[in-house]
């Protein structure tokens, strides 16, 4: 069953200028994005900074409105929900942010932070049961009851992210949107948080949308991965198939940039360069200017087509006859 369905979502940011004389600055951020999240699966959104992955996650959460297109969560179009329906949607879907230093209110202690969702939705009002819920939540993210009275600044980045996860879990959601939850943490802590997310996902039978720019992180957690570039989805595939058979030149270039933990192999690998060519600026494919394969064949706008079972790729030049090498990780 599809928990989240994203249908042809477009998002354009418009900046109105004072004294603009009718001119508008329009920046397209998402172009015709369609995706779905199945029950108890993890959907990864991967791409470089500014490709629209965070905007997409905000649109799913209803924190931003799509310019056109539909987002259907648990069978309901979120743009058509009433205020009460929207509030109910919050209990279904929760979020973890990238920066644990800015996602916790510095003037609230841990107890107040984790209590807030319960207060808003009027759950566990009785003192004893509230306390028990808070303690269980902290325990489930690897913290203990003694942390309840402390303030965010007394914790490390990893611990803060655990608090943020506990807050997201307080409403017992079915869907968790994780917006680069580990990219602000150092590598050893990243592993702990990733393990925690995986454990929680299995225990609570959660579905997740996992935003990341790190393929290694995405591979660990995701079942399906969508590769985004300039607001477009260039490739969408089951995680393992994507890693063993990357199709799009962009995915390939990104893989080539991920180092392999084997010096002998790493030395032989050749990075695909993403040089930018100014003569390709008006090309229908947004990636053409940086693409090593851009050629006369691909003068049509790219659209997602199934190249292998369940594996979609948006490149007009596929399949390549003269592929240089395979960069499967």
């Amino acid at each position: 069953m599809n928990l989240i369905e994203i249908k042809n979502v477009y998002k354009t940011y418009t900046r109105k200028r004072f004294l603009s004389f009718g001119k508008k600055d329009e920046t397209p951020v998402l172009k015709d994005v369609s995706l779905c999240l199945k029950e108890n699966r993890v959907l990864g959104l991967v791409g470089e900074s500014g490709c629209g992955k965070t905007t997409l996650s905000k649109i799913i959460l209803g924190l931003e409105k799509a310019s056109s297109g539909q987002v259907i969560v648990d069978g309901k179009d979120i743009s058509k929900l009433s205020k009460a329906g929207f509030k109910h949607m919050r209990r279904l879907m929760q979020v973890i942010f990238q920066d644990p230093y800015s996602s916790l209110d510095p003037r609230m202690n841990v107890s107040q932070i984790i209590s807030e969702p319960l207060d808003i939705h009027g759950l566990y009002k009785e003192k004893a049961s509230r306390r028990k819920v808070l303690e269980d939540l902290l325990k489930s993210v690897g913290l203990s009851a003694e942390h309840l009275t402390r303030y965010p600044h007394e914790f490390s980045g990893g611990q803060r992210q655990r608090i943020a996860i506990a807050r997201a879990l307080a409403l017992d959601p079915k869907i968790l949107i994780a917006d680069e939850p580990v990219s602000a943490l150092d590598v050893s802590v990243q592993a702990q948080i990733l393990n925690l997310l995986k454990e929680i996902k299995q225990k609570r039978r959660l579905s997740m949308v996992f935003v990341s720019h790190d393929f290694a992180v995405a591979r660990f957690l995701c079942d399906e991965i969508a590769v985004m570039y300039k607001g477009l989805i260039l490739e969408y595939a089951p995680a393992e198939d994507l890693f063993s058979n990357p199709q799009h030149p962009y995915t390939e270039a990104l893989f080539s940039a991920v180092p392999v933990p084997d010096p002998a192999r790493q030395k032989k690998r050749e990075a695909v360069s993403l040089s930018s060519r100014s003569d390709m600026e008006n090309h229908p494919c947004p990636f053409a200017a940086r693409c090593a394969y851009a050629c006369a064949f691909c003068q049509t706008p790219p659209f997602l087509k199934e190249v292998r079972p369940g594996h979609f790729c948006a490149c007009a030049a596929l399949p390549f006859k003269n592929k240089k090498s395979s960069f499967a990780v």
């Binding site: 959460l61 924190l63 929207f86 509030k87 919050r90 209990r91 929760q94 979020v95 942010f97 990238q98 920066d99 800015s102 996602s103 916790l104 209110d105 510095p106 003037r107 609230m108 807030e116 969702p117 808003i120 939705h121 600044h153 943020a164 807050r167 409403l171």
Partner: protein, 291 residues
């Protein structure tokens, strides 16, 4: 953490300590004014006792510790009750200016767009006129009275708070914990009162502590010009105004009546200095960039 920083600041930095001591000293005088200078006229303790109607000020003596000013008002009584008066004006005006600024600034930041534009341009208009001049005009229009003077001072003091609060709210609004609260289902008032205001109010508190001194100074200027407290009121500005004819002393002795200027003037000077140093200390303590 905050307690530690406050303690560190005051033990390390001598000027902060001086500021704290000065303000505490004045607060003590204001609090114990009835003990330090027993009230003569119970109906209006701010009315200075007058021992005679003789014009010439009298030098400090056993019966008048600080001497007397024009028309024999006791300077000691005036300075002591003037301290209480200064606190009353400074705190009342700052409180209301803060409140109005907070309301206006948060409205501008919350509604944004055209509302913001209109509100902020209005505050700019108030900003554009020098505050002392504007306060004088308003006070003169309303008529010389203490209450009117306080209204005039409030009217010129609120825009700086409005601007500050608006800017801080706009920056806090961007932080992830506000988005997180929205994602949890929190409504507008809850986000404003629980998350945004508690995180954006501190800079304004610092400005308020600096402002108390400045407002007392402006109030003294208005009184000096005859737009505030009436003759005979225990008000520092009023006391300085009464010294106007005696500033030059007698021929050959310029400092003959020094006490009429230096005593109330010194009180104003030390009071404003104290609040300034204390405000500086608060600013550094609440500045997260200072470790």
């Amino acid at each position: 953490m905050l307690q530690n920083r406050i303690f560190k600041r005051f033990t390390r930095n001598k000027t902060s300590l001086v500021g704290l001591l000065l303000v505490c000293f004045f607060a003590f005088i204001a609090l114990f004014a009835p003990v330090l200078a027993p009230v003569d006229n119970a109906r209006n303790p701010y009315q200075m006792p007058q021992s005679s109607y003789a014009i010439e000020p009298q030098a400090p003596s056993a019966s008048h510790w600080f001497g007397t000013t024009e028309q024999q008002y006791d300077l000691y009584y005036g300075v002591v009750w003037g301290t209480r008066f200064a606190f009353k004006i400074g705190i009342t005006v700052t409180f209301f200016a803060f409140l109005i600024g907070l309301l206006v600034g948060s409205m501008a930041a919350y509604f944004g767009g055209k509302t913001d534009e209109v509100i902020m341009r209005l505050t700019d208009v108030v900003f554009a006129v020098p505050s002392l001049v504007l306060a004088m005009v308003i006070a003169a229009m309303l008529g010389p009275d203490i209450k009117n003077m306080m209204i005039a001072l409030t009217a010129v003091a609120w825009p700086s708070y409005a601007r500050l609060v608006r800017g801080d709210i706009l920056s806090v609004k961007q932080r992830d914990f506000v988005t997180a609260a929205r994602a949890l289902g929190a409504g507008g008032p809850r986000i404003m009162l629980r998350h945004i205001l508690p995180n954006s109010i501190y800079p304004s508190v610092v400005v308020a502590s600096l402002d108390i001194g400045y407002i007392v100074l402006t109030a003294a200027s208005l009184s000096f010009l005859g737009l505030g407290a009436q003759p005979g009121t225990a008000d520092w500005g009023q006391l300085v105004a009464m010294a106007r004819n005696w500033v030059l002393g007698t021929s050959g002795n310029t400092l003959a009546y020094w006490y009429t200027v230096f005593i109330p003037g010194g009180a104003i000077f030390l009071f404003v200095l104290g609040w300034n140093l204390l405000g500086d200390a608060f600013r550094d303590i609440l500045d997260p960039r200072q470790g």
